[in-house]
Symmetry: C3
Subunit: 219 residues, 3 copies
Amino acid sequence: MNAEPPLLLLALDLAGTFAFGLNGALTAVRAARLDIVGVVTLGMVTALGGGIIRDILIDSLPPATFGDWRYLAVAAASGLVAYALGRRLDRLAGPIIVFDALGLSLFAVTGASKALDYRLGIGQAVILGAITAVGGGTLRDVLIRRIPTVLYSELYAIPALIAAAITAVTVRTGVYGLPAAIGAAAVCFVVRLVGVRFGLNAPGPPGARGDVPGSGDRR
Amino acid sequence: MNAEPPLLLLALDLAGTFAFGLNGALTAVRAARLDIVGVVTLGMVTALGGGIIRDILIDSLPPATFGDWRYLAVAAASGLVAYALGRRLDRLAGPIIVFDALGLSLFAVTGASKALDYRLGIGQAVILGAITAVGGGTLRDVLIRRIPTVLYSELYAIPALIAAAITAVTVRTGVYGLPAAIGAAAVCFVVRLVGVRFGLNAPGPPGARGDVPGSGDRR
Amino acid sequence: MNAEPPLLLLALDLAGTFAFGLNGALTAVRAARLDIVGVVTLGMVTALGGGIIRDILIDSLPPATFGDWRYLAVAAASGLVAYALGRRLDRLAGPIIVFDALGLSLFAVTGASKALDYRLGIGQAVILGAITAVGGGTLRDVLIRRIPTVLYSELYAIPALIAAAITAVTVRTGVYGLPAAIGAAAVCFVVRLVGVRFGLNAPGPPGARGDVPGSGDRR
């Protein structure tokens, strides 16, 4: 279908898929207390959503998800691992936030670099990196009826845009590679976690306080 | 636009479109008490959503829906029929469940067989069959703000996966045809209805009991 | 990527993008009281959603949004303008409704005319015009968890269908041009505003009265 993707893109994409899969499935266990089918489904939607949206928008169809069995396998595996783990862990809020930040960081990098591979401009690649990064989590939130994190949390889209911008600039200047990719993802990851740690999120809508979960640990 | 699809695919696809259209429109009458425009709109989204998602993901664009006027005609007709019918029927819960199961079964078969026509692998075809089957209903639930059935009902995705798997195997072994297609759909249909009848659904999220309608008859 | 679009299509598309961007961002300020990132994000989703859905469905990928920097620039600018404005205005309900009607009207025209450019049939072009028109607002409503306007408001889809039909007929009869486009959009705009002014909306679902905001001015 599609040509074999570059190894670096594939590796980062699968790592992001795994992280978001764990996040989505743990969210299903914690926030909605779904059963195994629901847990694995929400894990797979979260894991694969961002990449599928990216591939549709850059006209790389069928999406990598369906052209390459490794994506489906990794996404399904992450859901099963999270289901097994989630029933044992006492506190899920920490891992959920960390895996979300990890997926966000990795997908911002892969989204921007793949968009440039498909000859989109730098500005578009940065936006597409951010869309890839926030896409899966947004689908997750819509399905379990939460206001998507990207709308009420200031430091969610911004670190993704930063990582995508670093990626796009390093690709264009020819210095992109494993170190640049990890550096860009690390910046996003740290900014996101610092934002969560120090409560730098923008306040949620006042009239809908109970609508914006995820700040406290309910479990 | 696209070449004329095989007759069997077309017939099953239109039957599934009609069943899901009735389901979506009756749901609009019952759950959300929408007016005629809303009823027909929700019917068409439910009817066409799964097939459109499938056609985007396998890169069969524009979707069959827009390349072939019969899809739009059948979807619109189903919405109008359901609107006329829904105002008369006393109890809608039964037909809603039956039409949903019917659409689910038919779209699992057409999704998997069309994915194989577009040269996707067996595993991918099975997943795509399930996505086609649950896609329209998931859009329906998101639009009227219910947690999608696929997330909380154990026996919703699983029968769709079974029907898609039977379809994929029979296509690959060369025995696919009307009997195999009907057999695969029938298995899904029966498993789904048995699950509903004997309450084999996974429990909904405890903290959100009112969020998961559809088990009792509110009308 | 794509060839340069006709000037008329581009101008109407950008005007619709700006109107919907203002609408989405003001909605974010008013209904959900989001912070600047959320406001600009919701503005961009509302502004770009309809056109992206249209371009996916007619197989014009990557969408104009990503092939032409002016779309992203206009969408981002509208979000920022609305953020600056929204904090000063006392009453937002009026502008929100007017900008929504404006975006609806312009996108119905561009959706139908672009679908015909891509050789779809007249019926399909009319439906695609309506989908383009209601797409961005539907994504907006789903993200902030409102029942989409298109489902409960009778005079929302219908004026969009009328404008799309006028556009399609004038394109096919060769009289399409700036006057025809503005005429079609004006009909939609007037019908929509008359509907809002005289309360011609269909009643929302009775059991969910609080779910259907937008009729009264809460600010």
